[in-house]
């Protein structure tokens, strides 16, 4: 199971890198979102997938699943949600100001 999830995370990273390298701003933003999903999966896998029963709910199980990676992922999801929201607004404002969402036309200083 761990191997499968790791491969899935790898596929997600590949997709994300492809999107990040494109010229369209919206694709870049989607790329960053997918990138964060990939790393969340990785954190979960690193803590070990379901190894025992649910933590915190009872005291009678033999083994418990590690709850820490889930807490980490929860925090990371919230942060990546906020950053993605900000980036979308930024892209919209940039499009309104410059009339373009093509990164090639947005690059560089005008007066150089």
């Amino acid at each position: 199971m761990e191997t499968l999830i790791t491969i899935l995370a790898g596929v997600l990273v590949t997709v994300a890198v492809y999107l990040l390298l494109s010229r369209n701003l919206i694709r870049v933003i989607l790329g960053t979102a997918i990138l964060s999903h990939a790393v969340h999966l990785l954190i979960m896998t690193m803590g070990g997938l379901k190894k025992g029963s649910v933590p915190l709910l009872g005291e009678h199980a033999e083994k418990y699943t590690d709850a820490l990676p889930q807490a980490l992922i929860l925090t990371a999801i919230v942060i990546s949600f906020a950053v993605t929201a900000f980036l979308l607004v930024l892209a919209y404002r940039t499009y309104k100001e410059t009339g373009s969402d093509d990164l090639d036309t947005l690059r560089g200083f005008k007066n150089e």
Binding site: T75, I79, V83, F86, L87, E97, L106, R107
Partner: protein, 494 residues
């Protein structure tokens, strides 16, 4: 108990939240902001004094003892930086009062400055690697807002680059945290250090440490500084000065913490790479500082040079070099803020950033000219100003370990710094005066006073380095001997 340790993070957070509700009361926002800064400064000095008496302080949130809960740890190194942050922010706020404009002030400028400080202070104080990531994000999200606030075309375009590169580096940060957790099963920094000392730093852990190095060099601009010049020249002066003084320093702090506390076993690999990166940064920064004729770009490349120079101290890793780096970090936070304020003020007065379009400003604005002169010699490291003592100690460290390449490149860069700023000074302040007295833009008092305050600060820091030396020695001692830190954090009967 030790609840005071969390104050440097809580005060700016609460201030920021309160200021959001006072949107239209600009004067009230300013007064509350200054009061909060004064409170922060007072608390930082108090904690710094207590550390000298009681040793390193810590607070376990929710009473969960380390390594299970999240801890805040205040040692001399962190508190010195927290103190400098408060002072620098206070003076920059005075500059912002007269320069940032009503629109910014009503669009939540002050709340976001305080959220930025929350993130910065949190990063300095935290004793948990994941919490460090969270504090970094708090700081970065506020910086995203501050860099775009105002919405000019250049700000929007430059901020896209800045935001995307930071998302990418945060992603690497999470990646490194995931691998490290998978490898040793803890994220408390002191506990990490103990576990890695037990199992030994095998090549796998060294690779993970290099991922951390990548993350922090992206944040601090060590070698990977290509995003820095563009994004730091877009926002208003007060914001640029804040970024230049604080943001890169947080990355440097994290690098010192991680590579002195956790990954200090395989110095041949990690610290050699840091040394090589520092040299390349010094060279690259020097080339940038010489190549441009735009005063803002020259100032930005001076940040890059300073980052390289401070990390020479980490690369050689002796107690003297650490002392030098700490002195130089404090000095650099103050002097970079001053340099950016002066450059921004020159831009405001003349309406241009090109050095060939300015001349003879010292006739029009004598005090500004002399302040620039002080900044220049302080950055170069001429005694008795504040840059000298840091350079002296870092130099001593490189000689002790026989790293003569680092020594030569480090001190060559000082000459480049001198030359690049001398070029601004000769072209812009000397020469024929081209602004007649009628066309002179009046220099606002509110802009000049913060510059004078920073000028006084750099002179006192240079002359009064003796007074700071007990704190700096203690900080360097803790960096040099990780067991002091570990003992303070994992000792449960505090």
């Amino acid at each position: 108990m030790n609840n005071i340790v969390v104050m440097p993070m809580i005060i700016p957070l609460l201030t920021g939240i309160i200021l959001i509700f006072l949107r239209s009361h600009v004067i009230l926002q300013r007064v509350l902001g200054m009061l909060s800064i004064i409170a922060m400064t007072g608390v930082s000095i108090y904690i710094l004094k207590r550390i000298q008496l009681d040793g390193i302080l810590r607070i376990d949130f929710g009473g969960w003892l380390p390594p299970y809960g999240i801890t805040f740890v205040a040692d001399s190194f962190a508190m010195l930086l927290v103190l400098t942050t408060s002072i620098v922010t206070g003076i920059l706020l005075i500059y912002a009062f007269s320069s940032i404009g009503k629109e910014h002030e009503k669009l939540f400028f002050y709340p976001f400055v305080f959220f930025l400080i929350t993130g910065v202070n949190g990063s300095f104080l935290t004793g948990d690697l994941f919490n460090l990531f969270v504090c970094f994000e708090v700081m970065l999200l506020s910086s995203y807002v501050l860099i775009t606030l105002g919405g000019r075309k250049i700000q929007l375009v430059e901020s896209i680059k800045y935001v995307v590169i930071n998302i990418l580096s945060s992603w690497f940060f999470l990646l490194a945290i995931a691998y490290l957790y998978g490898a040793v099963g803890t994220l408390n920094m002191a506990h990490l250090s103990v576990r890695i000392a037990e199992v030994g730093q095998d090549p796998l852990l060294t690779v993970i440490s290099l991922v951390f190095l990548l993350v922090f060099s992206l944040k601090s601009g060590l070698l990977l500084y290509y995003w820095l010049p563009g994004s730091y020249s877009a926002p208003p002066t007060a914001v640029t000065a804040l970024f230049g003084a604080l943001l890169t320093k947080v990355g440097i702090y994290a690098m010192f913490r991680v590579f002195t506390l956790i990954f200090y076993h395989d110095i041949n690999v990690t610290h050699t790479i840091i040394g090589i990166m520092a040299v390349l940064t010094l060279v690259g920064g020097s080339i940038g500082a010489l190549a441009y004729k735009d005063i803002r770009q020259i100032a930005v490349y001076n940040i890059v040079i300073a980052v390289g120079f401070i990390l020479v101290g980490l690369a050689v890793s002796t107690e003297a070099a650490f002392q030098g780096s700490i002195y130089y970090l404090i000095h650099d936070m103050i002097i970079k803020a001053l340099l950016f304020l002066l450059v921004g003020t020159m831009f405001y007065l003349t309406g241009t950033a090109k050095i060939e379009k300015m001349s003879g400003l010292i006739r029009n604005y004598p005090l500004l000219g002399w302040l620039f002169f002080i900044t220049m010699i302080s950055l170069t490291g001429i005694p008795p100003l504040s840059g000298f003592i840091g350079k002296l100690y870092i130099g001593q460290g490189t000689v002790e370990t026989g790293s003569y390449i680092l020594l030569v490149i480090g001190f060559m860069s000082s000459i480049i710094v001198l030359y690049s700023l001398l070029r601004i000074f000769l072209n812009c302040f000397w020469g024929e005066t081209i602004i007649s007295e009628e066309d002179e833009v009046p220099l606002k008092k509110g802009m000049l006073i913060p510059c004078v305050l920073f000028g006084i600060l750099t002179i006192t820091l240079g002359l009064g380095a003796e007074g700071l030396s007990t704190f700096v020695q203690d900080a360097a001692h803790t960096l040099m001997n990780p067991e002091v830190y570990i003992e303070a954090v994992l000792n449960s009967n505090q």
